[in-house]
């Protein structure tokens, strides 16, 4: 089975080629069959490979497949090779699994769109790129996938390019990602410069010998890689593109901007955990940025009225959690949250898509309300996802979030302050998510009559993926039960061979102070659950029980509220600090450097030759005899050269 590893990315690529080359020539049924079929087959292959991998002994869980040598130049030797280890196995399962469900969902969601074929071609290309990213066995191939998903993200955000805001959002995402990619490239160069290889295996093996632990070089390299991660995974300061990315079709938001692509940064850090473990300062930066982003985005999410924007900021916030986990060296917890988040956030987005579909493409929550009885399935599934993301015990989000919070408190890289940030974020998350639920599904129906007439539950192709994801959102957390429940954390064990440092450390940690820490863990867990319940109660009180109180509260806090609704004016700040100077500088380059200096130089050169030619053209008298004279004279010179030269 191992030799079929290449099929996992290849199948979506074939789907892309079929749909992409035959845009507008295939009937919709064929397009959707090809798109879903290719990803579905890929999922089946991925599952079979997963069981293959599972059958191997824990230390030998590695399937590698080298297709061919891609670049071979002096010491730079890069293969087009795929690597399946426990980490990438989880990633391909998430990508193909969630991807498949979203493909199926899209068949229903995009049914009325005129660019059906183009949409699925992009979606397949995205799946292919994402699989290349996670399966790559070296930095360069990973970068190919990294850029590929960035491209698809751009294409899909700007999918409805007739809309000015959509194409602007696409460009914004692309440009902001460029900044991050630049960091990634620099990090990659530093690593190559010192290690002389780009293979993950070689780098991990040689890094301890090449770099001094905690040294400047490794720290800079890790920080550069982290800049790449902040771009792709929407962390402070490069998160600004993700909320705007909601201009794309909703399934795209679910697949790319919630479940898979934005988690690439987390995956990358987990993949290079060996390097990060050697650079504690870089880890600290990761943790602080993660925690700060989590809190920052959550507060913005409180005051958004666009249903998708709430979810977008929620995504940024949850990604912050994952980075927090990575930053405290709890990489497997980060990946665990990545997985559960993929389930419930994809579900939330798809549910939101279902709502938007029902609301005739209206996204403002203030115009919704009372949708519970119209959209029973959507409501139920979204409620489950909301409970999961809020961290209600029993749902998947609880386990992963709790593990992160606990690790940020207990890990040797952790700190109480980090825990506090995460703890507050948990409360805020529960509050804004239930605000979303109450505004959307409860209360009076605030939409206009025309919209109301068209409200309907979504077709089967959309609701079935919702239900499957709902099931996964509930049970997805069971694979990673915390130790204190007396269960085995299968997830952490599974990832143990890949994560060199942390689990071992955690084990000794747990061994050393088992008694004291267990009670502490219980206390923290109850504290966060209590906070979440309070937040839910508050949301219920403000948006369900006593909406007048919400209004008066909003009036009292109108200053803060405006700031939040305007997203802390970060876009405006970037506009003033980054974009304006850049425009001024570009104008300088254009008007002064380009037009005057460069054009002036070239035009001067051209007019110089023009003048010289103008003087010389008189030699062309048009008289045959003068030409003949010159010609014969030339012959004489040539003959003289040979005759005299040979003697």
């Amino acid at each position: 089975m191992a030799e079929y590893l290449f099929l996992v990315p290849l199948l979506p690529l074939i789907g892309f080629l079929i749909n992409g080359l035959l845009i507008g020539r295939l009937p919709r049924s064929v397009v959707s069959a090809v798109a879903c079929g290719s990803v579905g087959l890929s999922l089946i292959v991925a599952i079979m490979l997963f069981f293959d991998l599972k059958a191997l002994p824990a230390d030998a869980r590695l399937i590698e497949q080298t297709l061919f040598t891609w670049i071979s130049a002096d010491i730079l030797h890069v293969n087009l090779a795929f690597m399946l280890d426990p980490l990438s196995a989880i990633m391909i399962l998430v990508v193909t699994g969630v991807g498949f469900l979203i493909h199926v969902y899209s068949v229903g969601y995009m049914a009325h769109d005129k660019c059906f074929g183009r949409y699925f071609a992009y979606l397949n290309l995205f799946t292919f790129s994402m699989l290349v990213l996670v399966l790559a066995d070296n930095f360069l191939l990973m970068f190919v996938g990294w850029e590929g998903v960035g491209l698809c993200s751009y294409l899909l955000i700007g999918f409805w390019y007739e809309k000015q805001s959509a194409s602007d959002a696409g460009k914004k995402a692309f440009i902001v990602n460029r900044i991050g990619d630049f960091g990634f490239l620099i990090g990659m160069f530093i690593i190559f410069w010192h290690v002389g290889s780009l293979d993950f295996a070689t780098v991990s093996q040689n890094a301890p010998m090449v770099f001094a632990a905690g040294g400047t070089v490794i720290t800079v390299a890790c920080l550069c890689l982290f800049v790449g991660a902040t771009g792709k995974s929407a962390q402070i300061p490069l998160y600004v593109w993700l909320p705007d990315a909601m201009e794309g079709p909703t399934p795209v938001s679910a697949l790319i901007h919630a479940a898979t692509m934005v988690t690439a940064g987390v995956y990358m850090i987990a993949r290079t955990n060996v390097l990060y473990m050697m650079a504690p300062d870089a880890l600290m930066v990761v943790a602080i940025v993660g925690a700060a982003t989590a809190l920052f985005a959550a507060t913005i999410g409180l005051a958004q009225n666009d249903i998708k924007r709430v979810l977008a900021y929620s995504t940024v916030s949850q990604l912050g959690y994952m980075f927090l986990a990575c930053g405290v060296a709890a990489f497997s917890a980060g990946i665990f949250h990545l997985m559960t988040h993929a389930f419930f956030k994809a579900l939330l987005f798809l549910g939101a898509g279902s709502v938007i579909h029902a609301m005739s493409d209206k996204q403002d929550m203030r115009e919704m309300g009372g949708l519970k009885k119209h959209l029973p399935i959507t409501f139920m599934t979204m409620l489950i996802a909301t409970l999961a993301i809020s961290g209600i015990p029993g749902f998947s989000g609880f386990f992963s979030k709790d593990e992160i919070l606990w690790k940020s408190f207990s890990s040797s890289h952790g700190h109480v302050a980090l825990w506090v940030l995460g703890f507050i974020t948990a409360g805020l998350t529960a509050f804004y998510m239930f605000r979303l639920i109450y505004l959307t599904f409860y209360g009076e129906e605030r939409m206009d009559a025309e919209t109301k007439k068209h409200i309907h539950e979504s077709p089967r192709t959309m609701t079935v993926p919702l239900m499957i994801l709902a099931v996964l959102s509930v049970i997805g957390g069971l694979v990673g039960m915390p130790h204190i429940f007396g269960a085995t954390n299968y997830f952490e064990e599974w990832l143990h061979p890949v994560m060199a440092g942390p689990p071992q450390e955690a084990a000794t940690h747990a061994l050393a102070s088992a008694g004291a820490n267990t009670s502490m863990e219980w206390i923290l867990m109850f504290a966060s659950v209590a906070l979440v319940l309070m937040a839910i109660y508050l949301a219920w009180y403000l948006y369900r029980k006593n909406t007048a109180a919400a209004g008066s509260l909003a009036d009292k806090l109108s200053g803060a509220r405006t700031t939040l609704a305007n997203k802390y004016y970060v876009d405006e700040f970037y506009g003033a600090v980054v974009i304006r100077p850049l425009i001024v500088f570009s104008l300088f380059l254009w008007k002064i450097v380009d037009v005057i200096i460069i054009d002036g130089f070239l035009n001067g050169l051209a007019s110089l030759w023009h003048d010289i030619s103008n003087a010389l053209r008189h030699a062309q008298s048009g008289r045959v005899r003068s030409y003949a004279t010159m010609f014969v004279f030339g012959v004489i010179l040539v003959v003289a050269y040979f005759v005299l030269g040979s003697n």
Binding site: R617, H618, Q620, S621, G622, R623, V624, R625, A628, T629, V632
Partner: protein, 100 residues
Amino acid sequence: MVPISAYLILAAVLFGIGTVGVLISRNVIVMFMSIELMLNAANMVLIAFSRALSIADGHVIVFLVLTVAAAEAAVGLGLIIMIYRNRATINIDRFSLLKW
């Protein structure tokens, strides 16, 4: 007996006269005839070497050159006739449309 070099020098002199003819002649037809003279000087060289080496291939080449000269004369004279029709002159200096 005459040495071959004598014939070669004769050919060189004829060639030089042809060159001067081309350069100084203002009459297209005379210019054209000077070119024919230069061709014949080249033929003379071919025949002289053919004789010196006792290889008759030079003769064949001369024959081909004569044929080409005939073709050239036909086309060239046709051109002269046409130019004369247009310009009513055979002064080569008047055919200077190709100047700057």
